[in-house]
Symmetry: C3
Subunit: 346 residues, 3 copies
Amino acid sequence: MELTIEQLAKKLGGSLVGPGRAVVNAVGPLGSAKPTDVTFYNNEKHREALGTSQAAAVIVSTPVEALDKPQIVVGDVNAALIEALCLFAPPLKGPTPGVDPSAKLGRSVVLGQGVSVGANVVMGDNVRIGDGTMIGPGCSIGENSTVGSHSRLDANVVVYHNCEIGNHVIIHANSTIGATGFGYSFIDGAHRLVPHNGGVVIEDYVELGANCCVDRAKFGNTIVGAGTKIDNLVQVAHNVVIGKCCLVAALAGISGSCRVGDGVVIAGQVGMADNLEIGSGATLTAKAGVMNHVAPGEVVMGIPALEYSKARRVVVSTMNLPKLVEKVKALSKRIEQLEAAENDKK
Amino acid sequence: MELTIEQLAKKLGGSLVGPGRAVVNAVGPLGSAKPTDVTFYNNEKHREALGTSQAAAVIVSTPVEALDKPQIVVGDVNAALIEALCLFAPPLKGPTPGVDPSAKLGRSVVLGQGVSVGANVVMGDNVRIGDGTMIGPGCSIGENSTVGSHSRLDANVVVYHNCEIGNHVIIHANSTIGATGFGYSFIDGAHRLVPHNGGVVIEDYVELGANCCVDRAKFGNTIVGAGTKIDNLVQVAHNVVIGKCCLVAALAGISGSCRVGDGVVIAGQVGMADNLEIGSGATLTAKAGVMNHVAPGEVVMGIPALEYSKARRVVVSTMNLPKLVEKVKALSKRIEQLEAAENDKK
Amino acid sequence: MELTIEQLAKKLGGSLVGPGRAVVNAVGPLGSAKPTDVTFYNNEKHREALGTSQAAAVIVSTPVEALDKPQIVVGDVNAALIEALCLFAPPLKGPTPGVDPSAKLGRSVVLGQGVSVGANVVMGDNVRIGDGTMIGPGCSIGENSTVGSHSRLDANVVVYHNCEIGNHVIIHANSTIGATGFGYSFIDGAHRLVPHNGGVVIEDYVELGANCCVDRAKFGNTIVGAGTKIDNLVQVAHNVVIGKCCLVAALAGISGSCRVGDGVVIAGQVGMADNLEIGSGATLTAKAGVMNHVAPGEVVMGIPALEYSKARRVVVSTMNLPKLVEKVKALSKRIEQLEAAENDKK
């Protein structure tokens, strides 16, 4: 796709400051944008990079003074950036609509309109797929499971039986939904698996990364709430309930039966004990080891995780601990001297 | 499946206290059980929840006094719970016995009786599969590898060549058994892969989660001992030997050539240096970074991991470190005053 | 393969010390080598084990005195070990050359000479595969992506569209290359995915473990530099640039837009904040939580990561913190006594 800057400004609903004749065909960041790229500017600390950027034009929220470059002024740079990236997305053929002849569908499978089922897909009995949904090659969907409309399962995703995946959901390649959770009872000298009669519910607009695991529940359902976005290699254990619009970064692990509120941010490599309650709006910073409930809006850090300001004091004082050791040594000497002086007097 | 409480008590080998006519069709936990669920009670701290539970009946180990609900008294609540969950498991058709026509089997493949081989399975030459074993769709099993009897490989599991998987083993979807380990020698300015001539042995009754990796050995075998259960997204490196009946939780990593005893518990996100000896019955608590051998029965915690009581003292004193800093500051002032007094005397 | 010790010495370009008639057919480590194994010795701390090893012969770099065993003296034990392991590798049929009839190739796919395409492979339009490359069963390669010559993608690897994989690359089973990165903008109360118009470049001689994820870039490419080796279950986020000849161990996570130099060692379960610069030759020790840029050659440790010697002092003093607490308590008492003495005088 090629557009003049003027055309692009119109499509983004923005107003143009400067000449609009030049043609752009891609989006690039300030530092590496080419002369045929449009770039974007949403952070004053990049003002210098903006000055030297080779981009043909820049998307801004307020006109930048003394800038020798066409500017497209929009209400929300991030939203305009998403639109521009969609406009200039590399052209792809995408998946072919219809069911690939190599796909193997069980009995009573129901497919909506415009569904695409890739090569070598396997679906059990009673699977239902909503309108416009794309099931990538090599996916396996267990009996009685459903995928809503306008969703996308990429290659080799495995969904076990009795799982419910909503509308506008994206699940990236090699992820596993509905494997049995890690629940054992030690009986007669052996770990015996507790049957997992429950399922998984992935609500609308959830996006799951590649090679993720969401385990099925023992009872009821493991739930990932609407609009929640999960990165790669994340573990969501059995009976976890994640609220709406959360963010979960890579390699995080959410243990069994944890209840995570809405809008929670779980950073990379976070782990947590099971059965915890994480309040809405909480933030668990990277690598936190969460051992206790977290209040709504609270930010926690560290292993074990503490409230942020407390954790910060602990971290700072730990970093300075070698100095403290020296200080105590010095104090000890001064006390010895005082004691010696005191003894002299006796 | 529907049963009267009386019928259920009989099936569980329990004795009934209270009326047995009502019908139940599922198991539910105390808090969310429906009026057609049987629930279970094995922890006094849930006594209040038991009182208000809507469940039709409860499985207990000793009769609970003053409870207005039928009770099924059994010897072991956990064992009865497993039985009840099996009884009320959602009915599934399960995999079809026989070999799916799309499966591609190498030469001299030997399949036991009642084996189910799913769609698009690929097996190399000389693969042998024991009686009653189910190979899920999209699995790939390399030449000379064997899977024992009554085992289950879920969809898209990959087993490389020369691996040996025992009886009654479960491997969840998207796991990888027998990839080459991470072993390199730096020669002439490049990392050169050390060939891994060894294999993997997964013993009987092992259960492996989804998206796990068990690497093949350089020499001999990487071994996962009988009855060991491994959660999702776990890394077992080359030449590791894990004993019997261990538990390994999600996102843990067991480094090359570690020898883990029997009955070891490795919690979530644990990591360890290579070549370590972890004694039988040891526990590595969540997120531990184990740098040294661990004695049998020992519990270790922290990064670097220390013996539990020692680690606890370190953690507690670290949490209180900001107070210690204040205390030292105050002591320092008092010493200054003492010194000033001392100087005045001179 | 069976060889006399003499034949083996010749093949390894080594000189033989001792008799050469005995036959060996495998390589084994000192402790567990059988009488038909050749073993290797490259570390003096194993001198005792060498004395008791059952191996028929040993590969050494300098002749060991008073050793009752044939020795093959070579310039580089590690290099000779690799050669010996190749010689004695278990014989495998390996993948069949040619395209399996069940593979599904898009339009304008170009395959080099001697390519092997396994069962159920799916390739989009315009995919190009270089000479001698093997694509394992169940792999999916998106449109416009390329794989160079003499590379190997093991079973069920997924490569998305517009990715570029070099020559002599190995990607182990169930890994995912080119999934969309974890980039969202919060707009009108929802996390909206930022389209990822970029791709992934995996350079020559890279080896990637099983169940790894390398996300595609928003702009430009996520790059893994030539000769870099990555273990299992590793996350490489969008727009990361990894240099040449790095090592990245299992369960590590490299966050968005990090720039990692050449020869960097990233140990297991390391995590890092996004947009960091890790200098060439740096080492990030196991479980490090890297929050800041790391200078070339620097070794960092801990959460948050500090320069090694500094981190070591912090760790050691933290381990001794309970003692420091006691010490401060004792000092406090001595100050009290001094103060009491001082008060007595007033």
